[in-house]
């Protein structure tokens, strides 16, 4: 039973990692943000499982791809903090990826719906 729960958690984590870059871009599109705040905002939306070290590498990848850009901004009383904001290329990519995700989700739902009907009958 514990093993099944562990497998479920691992599968969910893998699924989320596959769409982490979309989620990051969506959060940043909402408002420019920094690494820790991004973790919090993803957790507020139910994506707490993706934290644990995956945010920073994912951010670095989208930054390398030119989808976000970093800038320094003074924080309350502390040293300047690194924030991330979307670039025009990032905004375009986000729109495309949202479409891709919806199409994928719709296709997967279509497959799973058949199974649900068979299981319930």
């Amino acid at each position: 039973m514990h093993r099944m729960v562990g497998l479920g958690s691992s599968r969910r984590s893998q699924l989320l990692r596959g769409v982490l870059d979309v989620c990051l871009l969506a959060v940043i599109a909402d408002q420019p943000t920094y690494g820790y705040e991004m973790t919090k905002r993803l957790a507020e939306r139910g994506l707490d499982i993706v934290g644990e070290g995956s945010i920073y590498p994912a951010l670095a990848r989208v930054e390398r791809d030119g989808l976000v850009e970093a800038y320094m901004e003074a924080s309350n009383g502390g040293p300047a903090r690194k924030y991330y904001r979307l670039t025009p290329a990032g905004r375009a990519a986000l729109g495309q990826w949202i479409e891709d995700w919806r199409a994928t989700r719709s296709a997967v739902d279509g497959v799973l719906r058949t199974i649900e009907t068979e299981v319930s009958t």
Partner: protein, 235 residues
Amino acid sequence: MTDIVRSCRRTWRRLGVPRAAVADMTAELEADLEAAAVEGVPASELVGHDPRAFGLSWAGAKGVAGPRLWLATTALAALLGALPGVAIGLFIAYGEALSNRRQLADGYAPIDPEEAWSAPEWLILAFYVIAALVTYAGALAAVNAVLRWRLDPAAGATVGLLARALPLVIAAAIGATVLFAATQGFSADRAVVVGDLLVPAATLAAGVAVVRLRAVRRSRGRVGSSAVVAGRTVA
């Protein structure tokens, strides 16, 4: 600075991440960990439970931890690793040459052939084989240790290629040394002895550097656009 940040910095230094990038990542991580600590959030929620793996993954994703040449480091490691074997070889060569000479105030002179003693040829040959094996194993082990410590992505490729090429490199080093010694009449003068040490060292270093260059190029070709850090691919 927390243990987590220290561990990440250590990892980045071992990877040879440029100082500016280390400073940048350190500042970002410290600021975020501080903010998390103020809110009572454990650091593991940000960086996971393995700071080293986190440091590797982040540096790989940023593209600051790609394969580096480390030519001088690799050559120096091979030289230091080969030193015991070379020392054995030189000891045999000079021991044999000097055993049948008498020391004079201004050098050495051959002794009476009837007084001369020489070790059996098979024994000398066996010692040379041992010296070659110790040189080979020492150079390979040292290169492997240094590149693994550096978390070098091409460490395995370098050691594999070196394992095949090193006999040739050692043979070239021996050949170059014999050639040099022959041009000097196999003299035991200090300047010639220094040359006898420098010639094989330079040949070995050059050979190892060429092997390393080939290994890194092959490794880069295989990796393509992914960053490989210490044997693991960071997509």
